[in-house]
Symmetry: C2
Subunit: 482 residues, 2 copies
């Protein structure tokens, strides 16, 4: 596509981004000047020439700007917003194919390296070139995406969403929006945020009224912990549905794998009858993200430990990822615990797999992603489908090296009588789940699905250890900026 | 693409949907039997043959199933989940190109027309073929997508999201996730939901503790009313960002245009300096949805009032939608009010445009979508950019016939001194907006954006009057099922 035609498809008023300029202008040196908007990443001044790197956040690559008249670059400072005009030309320097030979410079947003705010205090631009600590950047999360890594994470999220969307669409899934405000606690874990109105949180002075604040929705309202139950309702008519929805858990744990607000991809589909089928869809979905063309993924993986990078490469191959049962995993864990005492937490059939166990299975037993299936009934929520033997349910967790659980899924109990037993057994209030039982009463097909922690996926793909760095504005216990 | 090759791209375990079957099998009568999963929409039995329409929710078209042995269809009931095998063949009947000649029938989820639940009460399938009232379907929203319209709305949302995604991606926008849990009230309207933990909503018995419940985040937390301020932070490094995010307003108004939980597309971009540019992007985004190929949009528009359908057709044309200023609109409204007294609410410069005024401007003054720009400063939030004259701000509302406001947007005040004045003028706490002011202090480029009510768009495109029918599981004051 020619430069001219590409630009014509852009809306009037939107000039090409640096990414569009660098990717489209395969023909050398067009003869008309162009305009570039962006922020100054760095400036290098010499006697007869000056250079600056300009970024507009559209790609991990900045545009090299060359000032043959160094006076033009005099007022440039790191972080300043600028509008440059000039000619895009083939670069003779190393490191970039194109450069902008600058004619005019417009500073449209100043960024003074030092601002005298009062007589005594100086304020400097918080995003200096020097290395900034993770903690410092969390404290400045409104500016964090001005760092290379911060911006790459936002773009990688975009690319990864695209890969997942494409995969699910090709499989005939319909993207659906499920409610965030709900009346139920899907996982039954009790770590649910409660919603009130501003009014109801203020004391009215009336003691009785304070005890029973008026409910905006006429009943107690919570923030969703999972879209699954609502997706099940939709899958009972649309067949294949998925969503990428915020979820909320009032967990006080401060690990690198938990946030109070996180995004989860959840897929649910009807007419599936085996865990193996569920695993196949999960595997293919993740593989689509491992194979996505993403300059940011490449940038973030630079410097990744080679053994870790190899695991990602191997996982992208067509070979099917291993599947083992929970029972098989426990046997292996018990063996290694007996001989080498590797684990802090006890191992045994009927016990939860702790993160250390999950990682050992993925990293040492398998050396890559692995599906662990058919967990004990007592460890899992009420909605999972009972296996024939009765003491396990038809479910899976996808465990991956360096992280542990990335996906959890199951067949759902579609048999009305078994579901009613499970609701009673878990001590749930049947009245709350009447609608959910209805789905089985009227043409309830066998169905299943899974949930994928989106920030965990970004962490695993990029090698960024803590998921607080895998979301632009993280929230956790005690922390909510902006 | 041949049938065989298309199927090979499907994940093992996922059979082709009815939509895939109907769209791909252009070659006549493949010679191998296929399997179709779905629900029975209707059954018609004759002496020597039976017919059923099967849907799996993948398209507004069902698949006609033909039973040359009518005994095969004996146990079929409306709503039952079935698995059929047979041959896909060219149909000799009118109304469909293909039909399934059924060999075997498997009922995988029964739907008995009448179930004896107790000795005295009979329970019937809630989604009968007869016309069901809007109110009845709202009461059964877990089953509502089993109706043709309910399912079409879900798929139209999917198609419309795709159209918007494609448009913004082509323009170099990055899709970003902004937080739902926030510390601020962007619009300053005070209709914000408050978040607590389950713990803090229970009385501890300690009077002091009850007054000051422990905050999970260490400070008061609210549900977002708009992603805009957070998108502004991202646009100050990524340049062009958009999101489609749930928003929450504790409005008690019971109009057909308001929900307590709704989805909003918000776009924000840097280096834009005119409202006209903002309007252009908004117009092109909406036009992409008017031009989308969607069988569901066509199905929903069937039977639409012809004058209404014509407005949508005309709006899709390349002609630029009109732009008028608020001041010009007021002059016209005053004229018509003086001569014909059409409006309930008073009209005058400095007064809010009520829904009746907005609709008159779109329906009668213009006869199509219209941008109204440059509203009085006093009517708009603190963040909008002051015009040179000082009494108006650089903003727009997109008004459309039959609905009123569909989009609102503005340039944002990027000048630090003006922003500080506006924060003070609106009586906001500067400490809460320190991060927002920082965005101007350090390389703050001119920027702007808009917000588009997604359910309102679906309502306008489909002709479904009330937005409670434009979202699968609506929430409003006093109402939250599931």
């Amino acid at each position: 596509m020619s430069l001219r035609r590409s630009f014509a498809t852009l809306t009037k008023g939107l000039r090409p981004t640096i990414r569009q300029l660098l990717s489209q202008s395969s023909q050398a040196s067009p003869t008309t000047p162009i305009q570039v908007n962006g922020w100054v990443k760095s400036v290098r001044r010499q006697k007869r020439v000056a250079f600056a790197v300009i970024t507009d956040g559209s790609s991990p690559l900045g545009l090299q700007a060359v000032f043959l008249d160094p006076a033009l670059a005099r007022s440039l400072t790191n972080g300043a917003a600028v509008r440059l005009t000039g000619m895009l030309a083939n670069s003779i320097g190393a490191g970039q194919a194109k450069e902008l030979q600058v004619h005019t410079v417009d500073i449209v947003g100043e960024c003074n390296p030092e601002i005298l705010t009062t007589i005594l205090s100086m304020q400097t631009y918080p995003i200096q070139k020097k290395a900034l600590t993770t903690e410092y950047l969390r404290d400045h999360c409104h500016l964090r995406t001005r760092t290379d890594e911060g911006a790459s994470v936002v773009r990688l999220r975009h690319d990864t969403l695209n890969a997942l969307h494409s995969y699910f669409q090709a499989q005939g899934f319909c993207y659906a929006h499920t409610p965030l405000v709900t009346s139920s606690d899907c996982e039954g874990a009790g770590e649910t945020f409660r919603i009130g109105t501003l009014l109801s949180s203020q004391s009215s002075g009336d003691k009785e009224a304070d005890k029973q604040p008026p409910e905006f929705f006429g009943r107690p309202a919570y923030l969703t912990v999972s879209a699954q139950l609502h997706l099940e309702a939709l899958s009972a008519s649309i067949s294949r549905v998925f969503t990428i929805s915020p979820c909320f858990r009032a967990e006080r744990s401060q690990t690198g794998r938990h946030l109070a607000e996180f995004w989860m991809l959840e897929a649910e589909w009807a007419f599936t009858e085996s865990v193996d089928d569920l695993c196949q869809v999960a595997e293919d979905a993740i593989k689509s993200t491992l194979r996505q063309p993403s300059a940011d993924l490449a940038a973030l993986q630079t410097g990744m430990d080679p053994s870790r990078a190899k695991i990602l490469q191997d996982a992208a191959r067509p070979d099917r990822w291993p599947r083992i049962t929970y029972t098989e995993a426990i046997i292996e864990l018990e063996k290694v615990q007996a001989s080498r005492r590797l684990f802090e937490f006890p191992v045994g059939w009927g016990r939860t797999l702790q993160s250390e166990h999950e990682r050992w299975v993925a990293e040492h037993l398998v050396g890559g992603p692995v599906f662990v299936t058919d967990y004990p009934t007592q460890l899992k929520p009420f909605y999972m489908r009972q296996n024939v033997e009765g003491d396990t349910v038809a479910c899976f967790d996808l465990l991956v090296p360096h992280l542990g659980e990335l996906i959890g899924g199951s067949l759902r109990e579609e048999r009305e009588d078994k579901l009613l037993q499970a609701i009673e057994h878990h001590g749930l209030n049947l009245e709350d789940y009447k609608w959910y039982v209805d789905l089985r009463k009227y043409g309830g097909a066998p169905h299943g699905g899974f949930g994928l922690g989106f920030e965990r996926l970004i962490s695993w793909l990029s090698g960024i250890e803590n998921i607080r760095e895998c979301i632009p504005m993280p929230r956790w216990a005690g922390r909510m900026l902006l």
